[in-house]
């Protein structure tokens, strides 16, 4: 068979989809990969040629988690890194094997930090079994054998063998119960900037994304959902397009959408454009940006609010103040807008339903498939495909899987690929929640901060997405306080004597979602810009003022000091260049940024340089951390300067990249990354935390440059351009 980009995915999906259970009459049951190679542990398959296939439940979407996780396994396995490849187990297989691979969810910057222990154990157990198999063969104690780069050596005799040669025998052994993991001081692969496992396939085009998947006999679907959230499909006139070339069927999807299925996607899309559709837009069609903003403004002064963090007595603290500072900030709705629009391919028969999908959470896709198909789990499976961007859109939200199965059910036996248009993707996102904040700070005569009230007013993600958590918290959404919380992975980074941070929950009909960094993006803008406002009102240096309010927060202080020192805080900047700072704790990592900008004509901002420090405790692949941090600033700065979704007549206005632009390469600042990894009991995340400090650092530098304080995101609404 000629191997090309198209049929590659069919065969590789079949490989990753099938882990055959082989029965060996002389030993334990050996699990085999599709090519017959034995599985040592669930994480490790070793082929006779010594190639190591590491299996991971998390999804790769550019962030590098697969390479990092494979490094963790390879470290304990002591295998030759150059022989490592990876594959995804399917959620269906995992379920049958009592979820042996753990959580599939790839979000919340959790890929490494919540699975490092069990994946390392999977690698360590496999190594013990391989060594035991060699020792059994040589009839020597396993303790006399050492391993390095996939080679086992019996030290006293000098005999050698390879993992590939003993894999069959090792697979028949019982896995050890308790395996001791290496001391971090012994790490050889963890902490090294090894090359990513997926680069070659991306560069040579072998990597297939969901939206270029092709299955034999596959048809293509284009879909339109009611443009007003909450609206319904009333009727459509299929007869008007059913005669068009290639069109196979026009089908309702759920109660709010309609799809055209055709031979090619373009035929489906152009037919859908011509299809007369009647919507029942419902009462939400009356909602506008103005009505939403009015609700949020009301929340800023509302008497009732959910408390996220408090100490001391805020009223008494503010009453003592000789000077009070007050400011109101705003952060908008934002679509994830990944380069690859939402898509999923489904094939349904009453006996079996399968879905191929780029997903951040294979198990969430599986759950959506089960609900939409109505079939039991043992008749279904999901084949994961690497993502052309996720950023939080493709984890908890599986609307495209539900739709693909609903369409496939109306065409049994035929694989149907559903691909959203960019417009559909822009109008039916799960948007960064809209939020305002009013901050009130009190300073005493010596310029000490004696009280701070942060009132958040806006949308809750969890109320819409995880209502049971909000119910447990008596209506409060704890996630709203990311970076401002009293304790935990998003604990507040200041020690302020009288403090109240509360949230007037003002939900809208626009569905909210987890947008890269989630609520730290706006909370860092609110808090870190306001810290500058307070320092300036107190007549103090912004760095010194922060330091005074960071008692007992050594790791927050560590990253702040690191960026201040590297940017040259306190020393003169180049002519016309101004600096700003920000710090926060997010996803168990401590992050800070210092920006250098210049401003021309009062509104043209050039960001020259951002120094960004991240302290995750452990750095599995420092090169990947640098790329993650730089990449996050593309998103963070695009959002700061130029992106916003607004609502008119109940629907989203910005429907493509001409009105929802991204920064260009020439606008990208130089990013200098500082990684602090001194160990400790808790591992921090990387994917999201550092994004949040770029925006406030730039906004603070803008004030230094112009004397004008920016409080509304995006800055384009104030005529400010990124150049």
């Amino acid at each position: 068979m000629k191997m090309n980009r198209r049929n590659f995915i069919v065969t590789s999906a079949a490989v990753t989809g099938g882990l055959a259970l082989g029965f060996d009459p002389f030993g334990k049951q050996v699990v085999r990969a599709q090519d017959g190679s034995p599985e040592i542990t669930a994480w490790v398959v070793i082929q006779p040629n010594d190639r190591v296939v590491i299996r991971m439940a998390r999804s790769e979407m550019g962030q590098g988690t697969i390479t990092g996780l494979a490094q963790l396994v390879a470290e304990e396995l002591e295998c030759d890194w150059n022989k490592v490849t990876y594959e995804y187990p399917t959620p269906g297989t995992s379920l049958k094997r009592k979820r042996v691979w753990g959580d599939f969810s790839t979000g919340g910057s959790r890929g490494i930090r919540t699975s490092h222990e069990y994946v390392r154990q999977g690698g360590a157990a496999a190594r013990v079994m391989l060594v035991q198999a060699a020792a059994n063969q040589w009839k020597v104690p396993a303790s006399e054998c050492v391993t390095s780069n996939s080679v086992i050596t019996h030290k006293p005799s000098g005999r050698k063998t390879t993992y590939g040669k003993v894999a069959e025998a090792a697979a028949k052994l019982e896995p050890p119960k308790d395996v001791k993991l290496k001391d971090p001081k012994e790490w050889k692969v963890i902490g090294k900037p090894v090359k990513r496992l997926d680069t070659v396939d991306k560069v040579n085009g072998k990597q297939v994304y969901g939206f270029d998947l092709k299955l034999p006999g596959m048809l293509n679907a284009a879909i339109k959902d009611c443009p007003v959230f909450g609206g319904k499909l009333k009727s459509f006139d299929a007869g008007r397009v059913s005669g068009l070339k290639g069109v196979k069927k026009v089908v309702p999807v759920g109660d709010s959408a309609v799809a055209v299925v055709a031979e090619t996607w373009w035929q489906a899309k152009t037919a859908l454009d011509q299809l007369p559709i009647q919507w029942d837009e419902g009462p939400n069609a009356k909602v506008s940006q103005e009505s939403i903003l009015a609700t949020l403004k009301e929340g800023l002064g509302a008497s009732q609010a959910f408390v996220g963090n408090q100490n001391g007595d805020i009223k008494a603290g503010l009453a003592k103040a000789t000077k009070t500072v007050e400011a109101t900030y705003f952060y908008p709705f934002l679509n994830h807008a990944p380069m690859e629009p939402m898509n999923a391919t489904a094939r349904y028969t009453p006996e079996r339903c399968e879905v191929w999908v780029p997903t951040q959470d294979g198990e969430a896709s599986f759950a959506a498939l089960l609900a939409a198909s109505g079939l039991p789990a043992d008749k279904c499976d999901v084949y994961k495909i690497n993502l052309g961007g996720g950023f939080g859109r493709r984890g908890a939200f599986q609307d495209y899987v539900t739709q693909a199965v609903q369409i496939a059910k109306q065409m049994p036996g035929v694989p149907v690929k559903l691909l959203w248009t960019r417009e559909e993707d822009m109008l039916h996102g799960h948007y960064h929640p809209i939020m305002m904040a009013k901050l009130t700070g009190g300073l005493d005569a010596s310029g000490n901060l004696v009280g701070l009230h942060v009132r958040l007013s806006g949308q809750s993600i969890l109320a819409a997405v995880r209502p049971h958590i909000v119910e447990q918290q008596k209506g409060r959404d704890p996630l709203t306080f990311q970076g401002l919380a009293d304790t935990g992975e998003h604990a507040f980074g200041y020690s302020i004597p009288n403090l109240l941070i509360d949230h007037a929950m003002r939900n809208t009909h626009v569905p909210p979602g987890f947008w890269r960094g989630v609520n730290i993006n706006q909370n860092a803008v609110f808090m870190e810009c306001f810290m500058d406002e307070l320092a300036q009102a107190a007549g103090q240096d912004e760095l010194e003022f922060r330091r005074k309010n960071m008692q007992g927060l050594p790791r927050n202080l560590g990253v702040l000091n690191a960026v201040a020192q590297r940017i040259g805080w306190g020393k003169p900047a180049p002519q016309g260049v101004y600096r700003g700072l920000a710090q926060m704790k997010a996803f168990n990592s401590f992050v800070a940024a210092a920006a250098e900008i210049s401003v021309r004509d009062g509104n043209k901002v050039k960001v020259h340089r951002i120094v960004a420090a991240t302290d995750p405790g452990y750095a599995v692949n420092p090169a990947q951390i640098e790329r993650q941090v730089s990449g996050s600033f593309v998103y963070g700065l695009s959002a700061l300067f130029m992106q916003e979704n607004t609502v008119k007549d109940g629907r989203i206005v910005e429907d493509n990249f001409h009105t929802f632009p991204s920064m260009r390469i020439g606008q990208m600042p130089k990013v200098e990354t500082i990684i602090i990894a001194d160990g400790g009991p808790i591992w921090g995340g990387i994917g999201e935390p550092t994004i949040c400090v770029a925006a406030p650092a730039v906004m603070n530098a803008f004030f230094k440059a112009t004397g004008k304080r920016l409080r509304d995101v995006p800055l384009k609404n104030q005529g400010i351009e990124l150049v």
């Binding site: 493509n656 990249f657 001409h658 009105t659 632009p661 020439g666």
Partner: protein
């Protein structure tokens, strides 16, 4: 809309059927050296996104459109000019963007509305260069 763009829109309409736009867009003769720069510059003309050409030093040339090699033998200056100004006048299904049309475009970002991709003089420079590719 600037007067000259409006004027040329009308002018192009009248010339459309003839497959050529013989009159230069400006009174200043095109500069082939400047034209070559525009053709090769990925931030200005971006011609090599779709076209390839006799530019061995340039990496990653396009493969969506005809090679520019020999374009000066195949087409006259007027024919080249019309194709740059608005290739859809020659082929309504072309994917080549109109470099001098500002109306009836789709999804133009606010910052670019009402502005042609290249100025009249830049187009004259490009024409002056392309006719030399014999």
């Amino acid at each position: 809309m600037k007067w000259w763009i409006a004027a040329f829109s009308a002018f192009v309409s009248s010339a459309a059927a003839s497959d050529t736009l013989p009159s230069p867009l400006t009174g200043v003769a095109g500069d082939p050296v400047a034209g070559k720069k525009i053709v090769l510059d990925r931030h200005v003309g971006l011609c090599l996104l779709c076209h390839s050409g006799p530019f061995p030093e340039e990496q990653f040339q396009g493969e969506l459109a005809p090679s520019l090699a020999g374009v000066g033998s195949r087409l006259s200056a007027g024919q080249i000019r019309l194709r740059i100004v608005d290739a859809s006048r020659v082929n309504p299904k072309t994917i080549m963007p109109p470099y001098f049309r500002t109306h009836a475009l789709q999804r133009v970002a606010p910052a670019y509305r009402g502005k042609p991709v290249l100025s009249a003089q830049q187009i004259e420079d490009v024409v002056a260069f392309l006719v030399t590719l014999k």
